[in-house]
Subunit: 338 residues, 2 copies
DNA sequence: CTAATCCGCACAATCGTTTGAGCAAAAATA
DNA sequence: TATTTTTGCTCAAACGATTGTGCGGATTAG
């Protein structure tokens, strides 16, 4: 039998109001006597009462729920991100609803509508596509919103992301320092901000080194398939690039497959550096050098930002860029001595 | 301005009841005229009405939401599982709430309570611990429940899992076929059913081959750390095992690290086969042989089972075991010729 | 001894839906 | 024309909580 305020009220003789106030810890505020208070608490415990959250939500217009929109949970990078967000939100008594747009704007729109209809208290989103209007509308509806990883230029929406430009520069520089002059870059979703910035960083590093004419930018998707295909094509070029900069972990995996199939050796025949830090990269042969993004930190910050928005009941506009970290392993060969 | 049935009612002059019936597609059933119907629909579209789901939930006692309890979303195996469940539920108009027990029974209890309080329509759970009472209580509350991956012996709760016993047998046999007689097994959470079954399969295969006295079973956690530590210890044994059977992908990664640190070569110095099928295993050197679990199929089946329970409003007791698949790569050496 | 204050609690409206029952007018039947 | 049936819609009660206001009685102040 499901207990409600009404059943307890009938059983104890106190009004629903009183029961509610006691059980929500407002006895003092509404001057309920100690005796009554304890009595009701004991009774509630005895019958194992737990409030109907749906009813609370309806009445208070608060759900203690946040929406988490990811572009592809299949990507370990976003899977980890979602996982940290869930845990972090949970610490703060928030429940998470995770949705996956699968990099499809239609899905994204539908799913966001679902979140809003479900009256989430706030949304953390890694958007897909390059159209900010959907998110600006959300902002206008006064729904707390924090973007993560991806964001829109010139928009007044809070976000936390990696300094992808810096990542692009440093990754490329690392290859240049090792004597590489013929560096190909395999990019992901072209219209996503992180991708644009990484590519810009790559170009800038080449430019500074006077290598801008050697730039090779290929690819269009953050997927294994894309990394595989583009690498196949790259390996057929003459002259063959001496190094590949893969702009995501998935692309990197695809590249590795292509390189292996070509019977080439890393780093002797070709060097590679990838974006993202996945633990298994250390177990590959050789371990892969990479630009790690501070996923955990970003996720935690995003939750924190969102909480601040929710509590202050207004959308702040805090835009954060965290530095990536170069993790140097053995997939880059120094060819400057040649 | 937020539109509700009331505002539309006031604006059009029709009663809330009529509006509600039209908008929920019950015009025929309740004999609302075509004209009225269309008028209301148009009006609703114009003002961009969307129903308050919370109010619907409260009234109908249905939330179109399922709870997904995972023991560790950090584990790629469960991350993929969660991802497929979310997508599959989404196809059927269900929203998922994912929670992570982090292999902690206290968390599990609290999180399950949250799910129930939020009135999810059903739960898909990969439980941690070995105590079924929590789940049997859920079953008694008439909440549709399907276990996935892990289950409890002798319990009448639906589940879908891999035939882990078979996986244990076949994995071990594969090593035996290749001439290995000294096979160590690194297990995960001892009280989880999949682990028990895998170990039982391992033992049985050894027994059939007359090798039961050579059995070495170590470890106690599905984690990289555990795989790493136990492998370190195994490598110090004399005689050193010629093969390792790792009972999860995480354990496998840890084992690889230890083997590499010891300066040993796979498969020349030691053979290894792991449970779980992660794409990156093909990119390791050498690619790792493994017992793949049909994660996607299991997840889809679990959702389907759950939906059937929800629709039939009773907990069926369907218990399914899907066969694992041996994925043969290059991490096992045939030493029978020696 | 009267007026003001405080204590302890209850009334009733509200959140936005859904739904069984009912009611007047129109249409069909007798 | 009188009766029945059908049509087209509305009433009002839920669902289970929260919350501003109010109301008697006890206590204190004047």
């Amino acid at each position: 039998m499901k207990e409600t305020l009404t059943t307890i009220s009938e059983r104890t003789g106190f009004s629903i109001t009183t029961i509610s106030r006691v059980l929500s810890g407002k006895s003092k505020k509404y001057r309920i006597s100690e005796k009554t208070s304890e009595f009701i608490l004991k009774e509630a415990k005895k019958c194992n009462y737990s409030p109907n959250i749906i009813a609370q939500n309806l009445r208070t217009n608060k759900t203690d729920t946040i929406g988490v929109l990811m572009p592809s949970v299949a990507n370990p990078y976003f899977a980890e991100m979602a996982s940290v967000i869930i845990a972090e939100a949970n610490c703060r008594k928030y429940t998470s609803i995770v949705i996956d747009s699968m990099e499809d704007e239609e899905n994204q729109k539908k799913n966001l509508a679902t979140l809003i209809a479900r009256k989430v208290d706030g949304i953390i989103a890694a958007p897909c596509g390059s159209d900010p209007t959907l998110f600006e509308e959300i902002q206008k509806m006064q729904i707390p919103l924090v973007l993560i990883d991806r964001f829109f230029a010139g928009s007044h929406i809070s976000y936390v992301t990696t300094n992808n430009y810096l990542g692009g520069v440093e990754g490329t520089n690392m290859l240049i320092r090792n004597g590489h002059k013929n560096i190909a870059c395999i990019q992901g979703a072209k219209n996503s901000m992180p991708n644009k910035k990484r590519v810009a960083g790559y170009m800038e590093a080449l430019r500074v080194a006077g290598l801008q004419d050697n730039a090779i930018i290929v690819g269009d998707e953050f997927s294994i398939q894309n990394g595989y295909m583009e690498t196949k094509l790259l390996l057929g070029r003459k002259p063959r690039p001496t190094a590949i900069f893969s702009l995501s972990n998935t692309i990197g995996l695809g590249a590795l497959k292509a390189i292996r199939e070509a019977g080439l050796n890393i780093p002797d025949d070709i060097s590679i550096i990838s974006f993202d830090n996945n633990i298994y990269m250390d177990y590959l042969t050789p371990p892969i050098s990479r630009m790690g993004q501070p996923v955990e930190e970003m996720a935690k910050l995003a939750v924190r930002l969102l909480m601040e928005c929710i509590e202050s009941k207004r959308n702040l506009c805090t835009q954060l860029e965290l530095s990536p970290e170069l993790i140097s392993r053995d997939s880059v060969k120094n060819i400057s001595s040649i």
